[in-house]
Structures are given as C-alpha cells and as structure tokens.
C-alpha cells in the first residue's frame, strides 16, 4: 500500500539537471568539504601511524597491543563511534575527525609495519655494513623500500574515509553526505543521486591519483604488481 509520499516518488525523475545547474555552488561546497574532511583524516592518521608503527617495529612487545586497540576501534560502527563522542565534543568537525582518524589507524599502522617487515634482511645487513646508523638506515633504506606497501594502505584509507565521511552528515558535517541526507529527508532523488555519484567518482579519482603519484615517484614499482 504505497502512501502519498511513495506515489509522488514514482513520478520523480532520478535526476533533475535544472536543479544541478542552479545548485552548483552548494554541490562544489559539499565536494570541497568532503575533500577537506578526508585529507585531514588521512593526514592526521599518518602523523599518528608512522611513529606508532616504527615503535612497534623496533619494540615488538608494543605491536600486539597497538594492533588490537586499533582493531577494536575499527569494529565499532561509525554511527556508534560518532554518537559516543557527541556528548563530549558536540556536533562538530572535531567529533567527525576523531572518528574518521581512528578508522585510518588500523589500515595505516598495519601496512607500515608490514612494509618495514618486508625489507629483506640482506639489504638491512648491507646498510649496517656500510656503517649506516639505525636512524639513517630507517630513513634512507627501510622506509623507501616499504613505500609500495605503505601507499597501498594510504589508498585503502583514503577510499574508506571518503565513504565514511558521508555518515558524519548525521552530526551536521558530512560533505556530500549532506546532499544524500537532505535528499532522503525531502524525498528528492536528484540530491541523493548527485551526492552518491560524486562520492564514488571522488573515491575513484583519489585512488587513481595515488597510483599515478606512486608510478611517477617510484618507477621501479611498476612491474611488481603492488598496485
């Protein structure tokens, strides 16, 4: 038994181009917001993950607790994590970012640790034999060799975060998620379609850009099938 709202929906087209052309300002604003929320999340995620992963590599007892703590964070649904934070940090961008950053941690730490662990022991010994200090060895030998695995992690973190940003619309953030949520509340399909399509497009472009940067910066990774 479709109600009046559902009947109205049947006649509503999936996209109204006149709405799109008259609302380019709103759309680009939400898109920019989406990009900013994602960049902050992955950037801060890297700032936290790199030192934690290096410490976990050097002192092995630290690895298990770090991975299980971030693993538990990862299991908590984003809506729930946002809701747990709202009473303390309010309906703010800070709340959104704390949640978004925490989901990048497991992906990033796991890949940085795995990348460092994947450095062949003879390479490490060669560096040691050449008189490299531990810090120099890490910076000049181990990290560069770990980059393909680290970039694989960044790609997944970026694509995942772009999807999760939409959920933060529930606390008044959300970038393109705002369009989707607004479309849902107003029963206006165009907004839902535009928001969803741009999200997928943004994730695809971001992923391809990262692959491109990696190939340009590290031509030797092209053939190894790490992408």
């Amino acid at each position: 038994m479709p109600g009046p709202a559902v009947l109205a929906q049947i006649h509503e087209p999936w996209i109204r181009w006149d709405w799109v052309s008259s609302h380019t300002g709103v759309i680009t604003h939400d898109l920019r917001e989406h990009v900013v929320l994602t960049l902050i999340a992955v950037g801060v995620g890297m700032l936290i993950s790199v030192p934690l992963a290096i410490v976990a590599r050097r002192w092995h007892w630290f690895e298990a607790p770090v991975l299980s703590a971030t693993g538990i964070l990862y299991t908590i649904p984003s809506v729930a994590l946002l809701a747990l934070l709202v009473p303390w940090t309010g309906l703010t961008r800070t709340t959104a970012e704390i949640a978004l950053v925490s989901y990048t941690l497991l992906i990033l730490i796991r890949n940085i640790v795995a990348g460092l662990a994947g450095v062949p022991p003879d390479v490490r010994e060669a560096a040691e034999g050449m008189g490299y200090s531990r810090a120099r060895q890490l910076l000049r030998v181990e990290l560069p060799l770990a980059v393909p695995v680290i970039v694989a992690g960044i790609r997944i973190a970026v694509v995942t975060t772009i999807g999760l940003v939409t959920v933060t619309a529930l606390i008044g953030q959300g970038g393109l998620g705002q369009l989707i949520l607004d479309g849902l509340y107003r029963d206006f399909r165009t907004e839902v379609v535009v928001g969803s399509a741009l999200c997928v497009a943004l994730a695809t472009v971001a992923d391809l850009t990262l692959v491109g940067i990696q190939r340009l910066a590290m031509p030797w990774t092209r053939k190894r099938g790490t992408t």
């Binding site: 690895e63 538990i72 990862y74 695995v149 694989a152 790609r155 995942t160 999760l164 999200c199």
Partner: protein
C-alpha cells in the same frame, strides 16, 4: 561524570526494557535483520564464487568486487534503496544484502584460488575425484579465508543496520537517530553503547566459529596476523 550517571539511569529504567521500543525488542530486530541479510547473501554469493575460485576464472572481477564495494558508501546504498523501494524493512534488507556480497565474493574466490596446486594434485594422486578433492581438501583449506569474509560481511551489516533507522526501520539505530533528532544525547550515547557491544559480540562469536570449524592442521599457518591490506584479498571495511 554527571552525564554518565544519566546514561546509567537510562539503562536501569524499566520502561526501556519493555515494549516495541524496549532494548530486548530492538536487539531482536537488529539481530534478525542482520542474520537474514547475511544469510541470504551467503547463499547467493558464496557457492558461485567458490566454483569460480576453483576454476580460477574471472579472478579480476571477483577481486575488484570488494575494491569497488569500498568506494560505494553504505550510507548511499541504503538511501538509494529507500528511493527505489520506499521506506521500511524492505529497503533495509535489500541494502544490507547488497553490502554483504562483496567481501563474500572476494574471500570465497581468493580462498579457493589460493589453494596450493600441490595440495589438489596430491588429492588427485591419492585417487580422489575432482568433486572429492573440492569437498574434502580444497574447501577445508580455503575455509579460514571464506569465514573471514563472512565475518567481515556480518560486522559490516550489523554496523549498517544501525543506519537503517534513517529509512524508518527499527533496530538499535532508532535510539541514535531519534536521540540525535531530539537532541537527547543520553539516549544517543546509550544506543551507541548497545550498537558497539553488538558489533564486538558479532566479531567475537564469528571468530569463535572460525576457531572451531577450521582444521587444526591449518591454524598455525594463519598465525601471521600482520598481513598488510593489499586492496583485494581480505576485504575489511569499517562502516
């Protein structure tokens, strides 16, 4: 501190334990809906993926399935489903069913395709037919990866079922969505605690299932927990 004591009071109020908006009923709805969606997806997605993995055909499609799935926000899937079907339980079920499929496909395919050729050859050498080799050797070897896919799908579905309150369905998401709408942050927080508990419980109980169904001969090979995320193989996505 004051806020947390309000949350404790919320949990101890009798009215929150009865009726259609009571905790037991909301948990029941959440669990039944999630189990139905995952169950349907398991039936539909796993058998063909196992076959394709065994034949090692269409690997790129199967593996990229979960990469593509990651790029489509579950929130968008849910709202789009509501736009197609209307609001209520049906769009929630359809969206959750769709979301459960990618990790199941990828993990079932990868699990079967990664079985060492030597293993299936020795099964053949022992006189097993193709079917026996699949059923008694390859499938048990692939099981940990297949079950990891089920676990990922289930955790993701339980999480996204929370959002289904937005399309006028029940479940534990009601407390969060209604609480946010009414600026009743005590209810929001209590709902979030329940959702987080249910997710962690889902993860733990499926981990137990995995432990008891996976052949003992395989378990230490999968001790290395520190496998990196590499786009495809084991698709874990927060929701």
């Amino acid at each position: 501190m004051n806020f947390l004591s309000h949350v404790v009071t919320w949990f101890t109020m009798g009215s929150h334990w009865h009726g259609s908006n009571g905790i037991p009923h909301r948990v029941f709805e959440h669990v039944v809906m999630s189990a139905a969606a995952v169950g349907a997806a398991v039936v539909v997605a796993i058998p063909p993926s196992l076959v394709l993995g065994h034949l090692r055909r269409f690997g790129a499609v199967a593996i990229n399935f979960s990469n593509a799935g990651r790029a489509v926000p579950s929130f968008a899937v849910l709202v789009l489903a509501a736009q197609v079907i209307g609001i209520g339980a049906e769009p929630a079920f359809i969206a959750l069913f769709v979301l459960a499929i990618p990790p199941l496909v990828t993990n079932s395919y990868v699990g079967m395709a990664d079985v060492d050729a030597e293993i299936s050859e020795s099964a053949k050498g022992m006189g097993m037919t193709g079917w026996q080799s699949v059923w008694r050797v390859e499938l048990p070897v692939a099981l940990p990866v297949v079950l990891a896919g089920v676990r990922t799908a289930a955790v993701q579905v339980v999480a996204t079922a929370t959002l289904a309150a937005l399309v006028a369905w029940g479940g534990l998401g009601r407390y969060i969505i209604d609480g946010l709408a009414q600026r009743d942050f005590v209810q929001v927080f209590a709902g979030a605690v329940l959702v987080a508990l249910l997710s962690v419980l889902t993860e733990l109980s499926l981990a137990l299932v995995q432990r008891f169904t996976v052949s003992a001969g395989l378990t230490h090979r999968h001790r290395d927990k520190n496998e990196p995320f590499v786009g495809a193989a084991t698709a874990v996505t927060p929701t």
